[in-house]
Symmetry: C2
Subunit: 570 residues, 2 copies
Amino acid sequence: MKMLRVDMKESRILWEPVPKEYEQLGGRALIAKLLLNEVPPACDALGPHNKLLFTPGLLGGAIVATAGRLSVGAKSPLTGGSKEANAGGTGGDSLGKLAIKAIVVENRAKSKQFQILVIDGDSAELVAADDVVGMGTYATSDKLWERFGADSTVICIGQAGEYLMTGAGISATGERDQRSNHAARGGLGAVMGSKGLKAVVVRKPLGRTPKLANEELFRKAAKAFAQELIQSPKLGTKGSQHLYGTASIVGAVNEMGSFPTRNFSEGKFEHAAELRGEKIRELVLAREGKVGTRCMPGCVIACRNLYPDASGKPIVGTVQYETIALVGSNLGLGNLDDVATLNYMCNDFGLDTIEAGAALGVAIEAGLAKFGDMEGIVGLLKQVGDGTVLGRMIGCGAATTGRVLGIRRVPVCLGQAMPGYDPRTLKGNGVTYATSPQGADHTAGNAFGARNEVNPLGIEGQKELSLKLQIIAAMLDSTGLCLFARPPIISNPQLMIDMINGIYGWGWTKDDYDRFNRDVLRTELEFNRRAGISQKDYRIPEYMREEPLPPHNAVFDVPDSDLDTVFDTL
Amino acid sequence: MKMLRVDMKESRILWEPVPKEYEQLGGRALIAKLLLNEVPPACDALGPHNKLLFTPGLLGGAIVATAGRLSVGAKSPLTGGSKEANAGGTGGDSLGKLAIKAIVVENRAKSKQFQILVIDGDSAELVAADDVVGMGTYATSDKLWERFGADSTVICIGQAGEYLMTGAGISATGERDQRSNHAARGGLGAVMGSKGLKAVVVRKPLGRTPKLANEELFRKAAKAFAQELIQSPKLGTKGSQHLYGTASIVGAVNEMGSFPTRNFSEGKFEHAAELRGEKIRELVLAREGKVGTRCMPGCVIACRNLYPDASGKPIVGTVQYETIALVGSNLGLGNLDDVATLNYMCNDFGLDTIEAGAALGVAIEAGLAKFGDMEGIVGLLKQVGDGTVLGRMIGCGAATTGRVLGIRRVPVCLGQAMPGYDPRTLKGNGVTYATSPQGADHTAGNAFGARNEVNPLGIEGQKELSLKLQIIAAMLDSTGLCLFARPPIISNPQLMIDMINGIYGWGWTKDDYDRFNRDVLRTELEFNRRAGISQKDYRIPEYMREEPLPPHNAVFDVPDSDLDTVFDTL
């Protein structure tokens, strides 16, 4: 294993051995530790001292189902804290196969010219990006596939990242012609832009697989894990995730009254039925699009769709739950074609759909358009690509948009927009939003799946639930596992321990595994503390404690004393 | 003495006795304590739980030269911390004469309609503001003078405050037809806007003067104080402050290389000579404008000018140093007519000229106009009044403008723009900017006057100097004294103690006085701590520690360890 260090100021590339401290870390765990060790926590997130990190999870490159996610990290310009976001596609698998533990991008380019980092086997170089600067992520991916081969993974930013918008994400390609997987959250695309890095291209590693320390142990565990996934009633080929994708939950979230509607002012959307996963499947099949495809090599869940317009021409792949909630119901739009169009635009600009949807909701509340008015909304969103002041404001996310427009109803925690679960009616998620070192983020610990276990409207048990889920999320994000693949590991952690020991021969015990997971959070919290982030900075916005959310008319009422003690048993 | 409590939600007005805890407090000291006691520190600054406070200083209403400033306070939407800003004019004197210790404005108006609080003797009422909504502060003042009598004090916001822009200040009228004194800093105008309060009108109190506990003691001290001011070589009628106004320091600051130029990228401006106080006097006299007028009743310094255009028509009164630096050299403008025009526009919108100038500098760096291009700059600034997205961004100040436009060179501390002294070459001010509970603010402790005492380019002695100055500033802001009147009090604090004892009969000792001053800072720091503001939030921006400032090529290099211990001896 090795690390690739790229100094953008000097255009210098160094291969380094992996320091002992990092050997047993991957994905988010490695990002957290590298940030704490190498990045001054109070630094300017878009300045030269921040570092942009790409890391595969511990399972990256090994043949494990649904486990090739690529983690990207930096100090977030949106939250000001430690940030990891991960994407599907082939990036995690490729870096794993190349035995690249981390790419560390340092400093800022001297000129304003953008460059591309090209990794081919054991060599790496920086080349000019002049032919793709100013382009969206789709055109950039196509152009770089042309230039470097269609079997490369293209990891890139769009206009949002180039303009340093704090809602900018990073796009990564997948198998065949699949583009637009996104490490979307926290403004990592702006960090990439600030480094002067337009793209990372990883040539497909041929004939490389990680050496296995204990092949038998690994294969047995990996096989059992895959079987569990396939046989799961939710995840397998007859499961709702496979059939309807992440949007399978639209109906349930709407019934709970937690479906963000018209800038989080209601929890139930009258057109929710038009946005359900079942509807996606029906439309996609009728229009001869694709359902049940995968974003990562070897994924057995295959939740992905390719959504076409009425004429059968693909609009975007894949329409997902969070996007549906944030640019659909949250903007008063009850039409999947509209959602898909806005989704495509965000993906192309390289903009987090959650942050963009929340920002647009705030802008509409301020009167810049009307809820449900697709034309007006497109008019706002397209300015992101044009780089107008209005577009930059939207691209900087909900908090900045609320600040500029003087709006109080801004659904953010730690400066980051909330995903598709209103915390007033899914209070476990509220606890996660208000305590996670990542800011408001469902992937940091989503209580939706535990709604039958802990009453989503009650206070009791929420803080314990959130902590449990946050620890699991840290594990997922550090191994490269998709969060939909978590059930088999939750019910039998030994499967994960065996896979890791099978690959690396570390002889991890259950205690080692548990410490590993918890250390991720501890490290991130410490980074944030050193960055000057205090408990008050994490809080749920004031209005959500006071404005009842129809139709349940619930407020967020988990006491601060609970929030402040979530990590006491970490 | 009494307090006036105004509930904007219920349109309810209550006269209250002054609780014992507040009896011996005034101005900033009273604001700090009221905020700590009554406002939840982590609340939304533009939400219902913040309170807007108006307080005269301890000397307000008494016949003391240069001592009638009106303090305004709230939790700042710009810094997130405890905020006091004060203005000249007749407001402080009138409230003092009416024995109103504080006006406490609570909650938010139910509808979006604005109201006016009218105080006439011992009665007060809320009336509709429909005739002045949407107007700038000049037209609002004129209209309300018409409506309520020309001898009223009109305290109001312009469009910036109505739009909740976080750079909005509050304007107050002075004697005769004098308008546009400003409690400019920290976005207090936005707090006023969020309450639905367009203006406070105070009818001139006739025949009311505070009872004096010890008339002889008071008169003797007040007379000695006035004599000291009059005889001071700097302040008296032959002094530079009187002759040239606050702009008398342009030459010296420029020579020090501390004169903010082109978005704080240089410390010396090639056209500085065109911006000097001497030049103002020359032009104003030639054009038959006014110099040497006063903003407060009884001021013997009289530093104010009324700056006319070439045809003799008044543009604005008064052109001051900070405005000259921020909308002059900082924007590459070397022409006083341009400065006066931008000054007028800011005043009329009710926008802090420091925040506006810093925001415009950042916007120009981002390419929205060119340094020195008056037409382009006016084009940007006028959008504040129009309420466009660009205008709102500028009106929200430098930090927001930098965020939206992706600019790293943003001269702020605690979210508030720096005034006209680059901290790299006047390091004492850097310490004040980076530690004051008020954020970057020269009035919180300006080391310029001590430049011969402590080397402005050195590190040694800066933290002690800053603390000393911050304590003095707290005293000034709490007594209603103008900061130009501080020299006699600094050299002989007994004068202040005697004036206070003469009015109130409290029998203060030097120790009481000292504790009073220090308590202001302690209280504010505690509020900020409870608001979640950490030491890291106060810091000088990273780039100022790294980018040498021509021509001295100095960086800000006072170590964090010094900053973190400034208040150890408080």
